[in-house]
Symmetry: C2
Subunit: 575 residues, 2 copies
């Protein structure tokens, strides 16, 4: 059965797109792997041929009896920068590196220096099941031919019915960007097979005008921050349609604080931006995923509001990043003047050659070269910290999720029952026929209604406070999920430098190469430290803000209840 | 197998008391039914003979093939005033009468006019299972021979070990008073077989000096209230012992507001008082049960505190009743001067002949005779009301019980987990190595601790507010549980009057008897109305008070939390 591959997920073909419906566990023969755009052509056991997302097909790297076809096929799965295996395949992104760095066998870099990455972890993690499985970038990727890559917007034919019904698991797109990114990375032959060596051993660094200086601040290495912080508002979602209404989409208005001039973007444009940023900065800067396509909202308005809120959060985080916000691609996205300007900017960004680990070639730290031991220590420290914080954030999300459920489920029901019990007893009292107890019965009814109001307050409260605590931690969960990759590049570089003597001895590199590598890993360490310091300062700001907001709303909540009960109390007479 | 009776419950013999251990479902032959004191002598299948509480033996009223011995045996089960079947036998006391009085077959009075009563329902009803099964009054009832009727106090050998172990179900005494009451009722031959007829058809009413006038108040018939309301304080429980420390007991100090001079009483004296009051007033006035012997406290101190609190509640209710509080027996209990005085008073009370339905012979309403239709309507109204209120009270107890469980179980656990999650994240932050975040981490730790404090507050709150709401409703549940009996006597009298023509026609009564009956049922109605008005006025007072207390404490609770959160909030810096 050479050339047969197993399907990892169900995929339901979209009619008229030459796609092939396949089931999880089914085996197919690959008939054409050069389709591009994340697709391959496959044949099922019934002889039917059609396109299937390549991410849906199992990577059989341990299979030894495969022939040439199969071996060649494998190359499509490690098309870009070496990273950990896709989180969406059930791997914990944290598992590839741990607090004990000496455990070489646990380190993917040692055994599989050219692994794959998704570059994206699920962005809607309130429930553990929300990590969707990957789906290929649909459509051939012709950049101006927009009508057939409408997958990122709503279908005009049925809203979210497909994904809501739960039948079309294939519509969930947790790791979509991995494959779509390949398209751009594939433009750089040779890059696809590289680790940090590409930068560490590069003979001639790119002579671009781009320079990313790193200064020594009070806290250590810091990025160069712009004088005024960029900000933007994502607002005013508008429904548009094309193809005579066959396809509909939502366009958001983004107003940057610099120009105050709105630009419009659809979700797919955000997605394009995300991919460019990941491509360009991902090795040095964790680029958090965009909000998932399938967010929690059940109704169109709720869905749009939720997505907009999360796009706003994502944009705010990007705006706050000194390197990202000042990058040409980001500026283009925010300030293009017209359609032509946008298209020119897009083409330019896609042709950018300073991507992947080559971003380090633009970094210019002002300090002296760092001692390799210090470099490694720093790296381990960040590694431990981000892992611990990931645990801490997940704990808050878990506890918060349970609290949310209690506050919107059993707790208000109980207050409602207390309220009803008071009211029921009050109406029994009213039926007594005894004179002059209306003060009591009125007061008891009011008390009962107060508890019903409290039930309402309890049920509504999570949206007012817990929501932001959850969203912030959720955002941080996403951001922390990028660190294993970013730190992984760093660790791989350190390992390469450690191998230096051996490589020189076996004449794989020259002694000069070894010196260059040590210097360059020091530059990488400056970048990592600058990024960590940026992360810390943002973290302090964000948690300070969200805790204040949470506590503020909690105070209001308890005060409102106390006030309501005080009023209820005042209706009883003191005899 | 004539003369064989089935055991309803397990009974474990106390060593040295000639008792016989029997199991539920076991059959015994009755060998001597004239033991008295609620005991009978029985023989088990192994030929062993011993004393068994008569309440533990099944009443076989439907058995038709029993011989003389068996038939004679039945008489011991209906020894006093006709009432509903014992609640402790699993009967709902409310089931014997309902909103539709025409349903004769549902009315025990029609089919079994000489039923039995326990006169007591379980007084610790927070859990539905707390209705214990009955146990006989232990000991021969020799009033001065106190050492062998120590059952009501703690055994010096093991505190509550016996009842706590759950092995000694026989120690629970839900319906104990029914049998002990028989002793005094048996003093009046002929009474034991009587319903309200005893009063309705009595040729010559007792010529005592006791007069219970009923006045017409604004709300209708009312008892004569004393000028100042009696009150008393139950306090200062002291452990005493006798028989060289073999027996120990708790003595409570009761200080009446009238004399301000403390008297001491043990639980068994309260029990004696309860029986006297039930005996004397039970047909006209619901006499609530004493707190259960086995209350919820697990430790001696908690047990004593809880019992004292409930004895206080019971005494307060009795003090507030104009008829009960002014009665000689109650006054004797509260104001006896010395041991001799107390014993004289006891003997006198036990010889009182104005008991059972004869209490109505002392009642003197100032209004005109009531129309029989009105009498019945009032009765039905009270019947409906007390049934509805019983439902309402039980609903509050159920909801309150659940709320109690949530507040002392999952809810504080959740707040604790929230608190821990904040503190954990804070300690992760502390490990960052980043400078100047101690303000945040200190504030987050403080916020975390605040949520742990909130957990504590939540868990403790029920004792501060829900407790009193539950106790009051619990008390009312007990009180309402007496109404079926009280109203039952009334309904039986109404039915008797309705039968009047038939009874005259069959020469069972004279036409003059019929007139007398109608007049006397009018007197009974005045009494019932006065009692209902007393009940209503107390109810309004009690619920007004307990709702105020509850809401007051709830306000404090929410204000305390708000204040704690406000403090936690203030530790975060506004950047």
């Amino acid at each position: 059965m050479e050339g047969d591959f197993k399907l990892l997920y169900d995929f339901i073909a979209e009619p008229g797109n030459n796609e092939l419906t396949v089931k999880e566990g089914e085996t197919v023969t690959i008939t054409n792997q050069n389709i591009g755009g994340g697709w391959i052509e496959a044949q099922n056991s019934r002889g039917e041929v059609g396109l299937v997302p390549e991410d849906y097909i199992e990577v059989r790297s341990t299979v030894t009896d495969v022939g040439n076809v199969a071996t060649a096929d494998l190359s499509i799965f490690d098309a870009y920068a070496p990273q950990s295996a896709p989180a969406s395949n059930g791997n914990d992104p944290w598992s590839v590196w741990n607090a004990d760095p000496s455990g070489g066998s646990n380190n993917n870099w040692a055994s599989n220096p050219e692994g794959t990455q998704t570059g994206k972890t699920a962005a809607d993690p309130w429930s553990a099941a929300s990590q969707g499985h990957p789906q290929a970038y649909q459509g051939p990727g012709a950049e101006d031919d927009e009508w057939d890559d409408e997958w990122d917007d709503m279908k005009s034919t049925g809203g979210y019915a497909e994904s809501e019904s739960g039948e079309s698991g294939a519509m969930q797109r947790g790791g979509a960007h991995a494959t779509s990114m390949k398209i751009s990375l594939n433009k750089f032959p040779g890059f696809s097979k590289s680790g940090p060596e590409l930068y560490l051993l590069c003979k001639q660094l790119a002579k671009g005008k781009e320079k990313l200086p790193i200064y020594m601040g009070e806290v250590g290495p810091v990025w160069s921050y712009p004088e005024s912080q960029l900000d933007c508002v994502v607002a005013d979602p508008k429904k548009g349609s094309k193809m005579y209404g066959l396809k509909s989409y939502i366009e958001y208005q983004i107003v940057p604080s610099t120009t105050n001039r709105p630009v419009n973007h659809r979700y797919k444009h955000f997605d394009w931006l995300y991919e460019r940023l990941l491509d360009k900065f991902g090795s040095a800067i964790p680029i958090p995923s965009l909000p998932d396509k399938q967010v929690t909202g059940r109704f169109e308005e709720e869905f749009i509001k939720m997505r907009m809120e999360r796009l706003q959060g994502w944009m705010t985080r990007m705006c706050r990043h000194p390197i990202v916000s000042c990058s040409e691609v980001f500026q283009t996205f925010l300030t293009y003047k017209d359609e032509k300007d946008w298209k020119t900017g897009k083409r330019k960004a896609e042709k950018d050659e300073t991507v992947g680990v080559m971003i380090f070639s633009t970094i210019e730290p002002e300090g002296p070269d760092l001692d390799p031991v210090e470099v490694e220590q720093k790296c381990e420290q960040f590694s431990r910290f981000t892992k611990s914080m990931d645990d801490g954030v997940k704990e808050i999300l878990t506890v918060g999720h349970e609290h949310w459920k209690r506050c919107t489920g059993p707790l208000p029901k109980e207050y409602q029952r207390i309220g009803k019990a008071f009211q029921n007893l009050s109406s029994v009292f009213t039926s007594s026929g005894y004179q002059g107890e209306s003060t009591l019965t009125d007061a008891m009814t009011a008390a009962g209604k107060t508890y019903e109001e409290i039930a309402q307050l309890v049920a509504e409260q999570p949206r007012k406070d817990l929501h932001f605590l959850m969203e912030t931690n959720n955002e941080y969960k996403g951001l922390l999920g990028c660190f294993p990759d970013t730190i992984g590049v760093h660790k791989a570089a350190i390992d390469k430098v450690k191998e230096g003597d051996k490589l020189v001895a076996t004449s794989k590199i020259t002694p000069q190469d070894k010196v260059t590598m040590a210097k360059r890993v020091s530059i990488m360490s400056y970048a990592l430290q600058a990024e960590m310091n940026h992360f810390h300062s943002n973290r302090i700001y964000d948690y300070n803000r969200v805790m204040q907001l949470y506590l503020e709303e909690q105070v209001k909540f308890y005060e409102t209840i106390a006030e309501k009960l005080r009023q209820a109390h005042s209706q009883f007479t003191t005899m």
